[in-house]
């Protein structure tokens, strides 16, 4: 087995083992931590498709994370107050069903990614980073100033949304949902990287000119990747909101975009399990260092600096060595 495959398997097992241990030891807090890791990793898997595979450094993925969150918040708040979202021209009611919420989150963030991507991808480099950041901030201030759904205070949802056949309020069952979705996203991400689309997208990242010369438009590849990326991060947002039973404009803030990016950089850009490793380390540091000092972000910053300076491949890159060839 290749070394990276082994590390990936260990990470997956570890993420599964912690909540199982916590279940036996009756420490539900750690189950929740593992759930957060799975959800953050999912958001990172989404962003990694844009950054790692497409070379599109989006600093606005909070937009999709937030939209996913508000898809849950809006639907569930209408469901809990028994008020329809819309009565004319046709009736749309709120929903307490996770699958309905997920589909809504994926569609909403996909559409947003289509619009944001279509405009932002006309630029490149620093301008792309700035424009995506600007779109994220636009949504942030929009939600702050929109009183119908809590404005600055956000929205609290009193009951966790349901999934047919499961008790979602049971921490381990909710963890199972997020773990399975993360697994599916990872499988999809692997397939994508090896597919014709992945080959072309990856080549466009390395040489736009090359891709044009063989008759493929790089813009369309990138826009498609951006939309897929946004959809996955949006789904993570919906799960995050469900975990907290709370949504607020913070989900849209640039700090959120930054954090998702930190997961990838810590774990290893363009590595399949990079976001998983990164999110796990992030949460671990938050717990350990956060207990020592309120200013634990200083240490996170130092660590990030070291990774960028000395270990460009992140955790996975350092442990697994050079990237495996796709052959």
């Amino acid at each position: 087995m290749k070394r990276e495959t082994m590390i990936n398997a260990l990470l997956a097992l570890g993420l599964l083992a912690v909540p199982l241990w916590a279940l036996i030891a009756d420490e539900p807090f750690y189950i929740t931590l593992a759930t957060r890791v799975a959800i953050f990793a999912l958001a990172g898997v989404g962003l990694n498709i844009a950054i790692g595979l497409g070379g599109l450094v989006s600093f606005g993925h909070a937009a999709f994370f937030g939209l996913g969150g508000y898809a849950m918040g809006v639907l569930a708040s209408h469901a809990q107050s028994y008020t329809p979202m819309m009565e004319w021209p046709f009736l749309i009611e709120g929903s307490n069903s996770m699958p309905v919420i997920w589909i809504t989150a994926v569609i909403a963030s996909g559409l947003a990614a289509l619009v944001i991507g279509a405009l932002s991808l006309r630029t490149a480099g620093v301008y792309f980073i700035m424009i995506t950041l600007a779109f994220g901030q636009m949504l942030y201030y929009f939600t702050i100033s929109w009183p119908a759904y809590g404005g600055e205070d956000g929205l609290s949802i009193y009951i966790r949304n349901g999934f047919p056949g499961l008790n979602t309020l049971d921490p381990i069952q909710f963890f199972a949902i997020t773990f399975v979705i993360l697994g599916l996203a990872l499988v999809f991400s692997t397939l994508l990287a090896k597919s014709p689309f992945g080959l072309a997208l990856n080549a466009a990242r390395q040489s736009s000119e090359r891709v044009e010369t063989i008759g493929i438009t790089p813009y369309r590849l990138r826009l498609t990747a951006f939309v897929i990326s946004g959809m996955i991060t949006g789904l993570a947002g919906a799960l995050f909101a469900d975990l907290n039973r709370f949504v607020s404009p913070t989900m849209f803030s640039w700090q959120t975009s930054g954090e998702i990016m930190v997961f990838i950089i810590l774990g290893g850009t363009a590595r399949l399990f990079g976001p998983v490793a990164g999110a796990a380390l992030f949460i671990a540091l938050e717990q350990v260092l956060g207990g020592l000092s309120d200013y634990w972000h200083i240490y996170l910053g130092l660590l990030l600096l070291c990774v960028v300076l000395f270990a460009r491949g992140g955790i996975i890159g350092t442990l697994a060595g050079e990237e495996a060839r796709h052959d």
Binding site: L191, L192, K194, S195, P196, F197, G198, L199, A200, N202, A203, Q206, S207, E209, R210, V211, E212, T213, I214, G215, I216, T217, L221, T224, R325, H326, D327
Partner: protein
């Protein structure tokens, strides 16, 4: 005379006061190798960009397969069957040799929006890619990372990618550069055959190769074609000797 595959009609392009292309006329007949030579800074690269796409001429037209393609994008021209190789390699350096060739085959097939089936297991694409690689003697290096190839091998891979497109015309920008004596002899033999598949517009500094291969030569100096003719005509042309080959050539 048959209709030319590619014809450049009165192209001019200026950058400020600099006339990079000055009323250039050029055509490529079926089955021929038409060499474009000229000293550094003569405007060869600018002309290539206007023919292959990426740079729009101020005036004049480019016709390809009887159609005016002056306003078409690089992508559209590539789709029509205009294959270009680059002077400075523009390959995907992190990818393997095979992946680069597969990319060409994928472009020719025109269906890149497939997300689930592994491209390496697509036998139709692999056949095209591997045939092209074996034609330029790179099949043994298929699993090598492109960045590990020598300069000359990258040139060969550029040609292989162009082959996967099954093009109607080639534009090759200095394919011999960095090849060494035996390498450039091999490529010369190969291009000699290739002209029967599709005509080649060859930009080249290696005069041995040019004189060995070209059916016709055009000489570009300061953005102007100062002469077009057979190898012997160009060798004998007084203005060409003065401007380019040196008085005693």
């Amino acid at each position: 005379m048959t209709d030319p595959v590619l014809s450049v009609r009165g192209i001019s392009k200026s950058f400020g006061a600099l006339k990079a292309s000055d009323d250039v006329n050029l055509d490529l007949q079926p089955g021929e190798i038409h060499a474009l030579i000229g000293p550094n800074g003569a405007g060869k690269s600018t002309l290539i960009k206007q023919i292959a796409g990426g740079l729009r001429p101020d005036s004049g037209q480019v016709h390809f397969l009887g159609k005016d393609v002056t306003l078409l994008s690089t992508v559209a021209r590539a789709r029509m069957g205009l294959a270009r190789t680059f002077q400075i390699s523009s390959l995907a350096m992190e990818d393997t040799v095979l992946q680069n060739a597969l990319l060409g085959a994928l472009g020719a097939q025109g269906k890149p929006f497939r997300f689930f089936h592994p491209v390496l297991k697509d036998s139709a694409l692999r056949d095209i890619a591997e045939t092209a690689l074996s034609r330029v003697n790179l099949l043994d290096h298929a699993t090598m990372r492109t960045s590990e190839l020598s300069h000359g091998q990258r040139r060969q891979l550029e040609v292989a990618v162009a082959l996967t497109l099954n093009p109607k015309a080639f534009i090759m920008d200095e394919p011999m550069a960095g090849l060494g004596t035996s390498g450039s002899q091999n490529l010369t033999t190969f291009l000699d055959e290739l002209r029967h598949e599709a005509p080649i517009l060859l930009v080249e500094h290696d005069m041995d190769a040019v004189f060995a291969l070209a059916d016709r030569i055009s000489v570009l100096v300061y953005g102007k074609i100062i002469a077009t003719g057979s190898v012997d005509e160009i060798r004998a042309h007084p203005e060409v000797r003065r401007a380019y080959l040196g008085e005693d050539a």
